[in-house]
């Protein structure tokens, strides 16, 4: 049974087909790459999976449950976490608060309990604090916990986005260009980090990435999109030598 399965999902924006008939399957604890030139529809695919857009046609299954058309927050609840290509942290809030907020969805206490601070609420709050701190330690951000998140350097902001997504307790983590804006050194560290995350948190990872070294180095399977169409899929070595992929990336005279 696949953890995530998209069955021919298609997204059209007023006549323009951004993604057509995308079918991907991801098993638990797999690391999958989604690559393709700019404008190939990769982020649109993410948005369909996470409920930001409802696919024009086709269905998304999570653990065999049809989650097509559910709201984004409901899909997060099921166990799909994500980061954003153009970094969407809660800018004015602290690093720690960014992570704490991502625990809110699993909170059992209601609003009044949080105001009068019942013992159940205090217990939950303490647990969330400890869990968030340990996530920050895992991503090497513990020293920056009280910093305003927008003050972080670019690479650290990307790490914080990952920490935040992990705080929602996902089984599938969607990373949208995690290496963008990172220097070569940081990119190499990131590869190690992605594997560590998979092992420690038992998550499957689907990542969009342009940095080929990272993709080829860490992904177990890769899907390639071009103009919304899936032109290739397979293990890194197959993809590297696929003439269609080379054509899409380099163009043909």
């Amino acid at each position: 049974m696949a953890l995530l399965k998209t069955d021919n999902i298609t997204m059209q924006f007023s006549g323009l087909t951004a993604v057509s008939n995308l079918s991907i399957e991801i098993d638990s604890k797999e690391i999958i790459g989604l690559i393709g030139p700019n404008g190939a529809g990769k982020t649109t695919a993410f948005n369909m999976i996470t409920g930001v857009y409802k696919p024009t046609t086709g269905d998304v299954y999570y653990n065999d449950t049809n989650i097509t058309g559910l709201k984004a927050h409901e899909i997060t609840h099921y166990g799909i976490g994500r980061t954003f290509q153009n970094i969407r942290l809660f800018k004015e809030l602290t690093v720690l608060d960014n992570v704490i907020i991502a625990n809110h969805l699993r909170l059992k206490s209601n609003l009044m309990e949080s105001v009068i601070r019942t013992s159940r609420y205090r217990k939950e709050e303490k647990h969330i604090y400890e869990k968030s701190m340990s996530l920050l330690v895992d991503l090497g951000l513990e020293d920056l916990k009280d910093e305003k998140s927008s003050n972080l350097p670019y690479g650290k902001q990307r790490r914080l986005e990952i920490a935040r997504a992990l705080a929602t307790d996902p089984k599938l983590l969607l990373l949208d260009e995690p290496a963008a804006g990172m220097n070569p050194q940081e990119s190499i560290e990131l590869m190690g980090l992605i594997r560590e995350i998979r092992d420690k948190f038992n998550v499957a990872i689907l990542m969009i990435e342009h940095h080929m070294q990272v993709v080829m180095g860490v992904c177990e399977r890769i899907y390639v999109l071009d103009y919304g169409v899936t032109i290739a899929q397979g293990v890194p070595d197959e993809i590297k030598n696929d003439p269609k992929v080379i054509e899409a990336y380099l163009g043909v005279d």
Binding site: R82, R88, F90, L93, D97, I100, H104, E124
Partner: protein, 348 residues
């Protein structure tokens, strides 16, 4: 350290209570009324700041919420006999006539009904963003006013309600203000307050983190409306008469001024600004009324007070958008450290 802060907070509360008691005995009734009004505006300012400042929803419906709270609670405290004399133009609905409740219960029911109405308004409107939300909430506030004017047998129409017993005193207004302050502090510090702030910062990210936008927006909106309704009820029982014209957009404007001046998203700022603006509103009354100094007669300038207030609002937003406090709050640590540093310097 934690205990020390608790002790300090308790001392602070005690001082406030003593201050209220002392002021209650020493001030004349006019000044007492102003101080009482300050407490009410603190409640109103905080309720708007929760919606607009902490959750980032630009709502302009406060006057409408206050109107609902004021009417409901006033109709509950007025005696059947009094209602009969007030409703001389058209007889009052018999059910509304008979129903009666003591002041605190009336206030609470006023707040709850306001919250219910806010829920009904919010359900469709909170799906809208920014400017549309602002206009739609302003629209609802106006609709509430138009309805109050036209439902003669329920609200006495444009004649309004008169002879409401003036139950609101220093104790009630400041008591409820302090409860509201602590409620807001704990709410904003807690997980739900953090979720509200996340929505303010970035709706799409908040939703991707599993926060149900609609549910949390409506929670913030309804809680804000509840306190606005209580504030409206207190106001009605302070002034003694209410009519639909009292609840025009300008009332929302005054509260908005408090929130902006104090800092959008700061509880401390709202408390300070509410007090300052309320006092200023009274002090500036003299500009609008004629003054006679012996032989010299200075005519009043109607409209001048609001000119000053609009200039204040624009001045803050144009030149000092953070307001008094920005998003900062008063906290004992800062206070202790500063004091500590000062005494250290002296000893050197």
């Amino acid at each position: 350290m934690r205990d020390r802060k608790k002790v300090l907070t308790l001392i602070f509360l005690l001082v406030t209570i003593i201050a209220v008691a002392v002021l209650n005995f020493t001030l004349d009734s006019y000044k007492l009324k102003i101080i009482t009004l300050c407490g009410i505006y603190i409640i109103l300012g905080l309720s708007m700041n929760l919606i607009n400042g902490f959750t980032g929803l630009f709502s302009l419906g406060h006057a409408g919420f206050m109107a609902v709270g004021a009417y409901v609670s006033a109709l509950l405290t007025m005696s059947p006999a009094l209602k009969d004399t007030v409703f001389y133009a058209a007889p009052i609905n018999p059910f509304i006539k008979m129903i009666q409740a003591p002041f605190p219960v009336a206030l609470l029911i006023g707040g709850i009904i306001t919250a219910i109405i806010a829920f009904l308004i919010g359900a469709p409107v909170l799906r809208l963003n920014d400017d549309y939300l602002a206009i739609a909430t302003l629209g609802f506030s106006e609709i509430i006013r138009v309805i109050l004017t036209n439902t003669q047998t329920l609200t006495n129409g444009s004649l309004g309600l008169k002879g409401i017993t003036r139950y609101t005193n220093m104790w009630w207004s400041w008591g409820i203000a302090i409860v509201t302050i602590f409620f807001m502090i704990w709410l904003v510090k807690g997980m739900y307050g953090k979720a509200f702030k996340a929505i303010r910062e970035d709706e799409i990210a908040a939703e991707a983190m599993g926060i149900n936008l609609f549910k949390h927006k409506i929670m913030s909106f309804v809680i804000g409306a509840f306190f606005a309704g209580i504030g409206g009820g207190l106001l009605g029982h302070l002034i003694g008469t209410i009519d639909p014209n009292m609840f025009r957009f300008v009332l929302t404007f005054n509260i908005l001024l408090i929130v902006v001046l104090g800092g959008i998203g700061s509880i401390t700022g709202t408390v300070i600004a509410a007090t300052a603006v309320t006092i200023l509103m009274e002090v500036l009354r003299f500009i609008e009324s004629p003054i006679s100094l012996g032989a010299i007669h200075i005519p009043g300038i109607p409209g001048m007070r609001m000119v000053i207030f609009s200039l204040m609002l624009m001045g803050v937003i144009l030149f000092y958008p953070k307001g008094l406090m920005g998003r900062n709050e008063f906290n004992w640590d800062y206070f202790i450290n500063k004091k500590f540093l000062k005494s250290k310097k002296k000893s050197v």
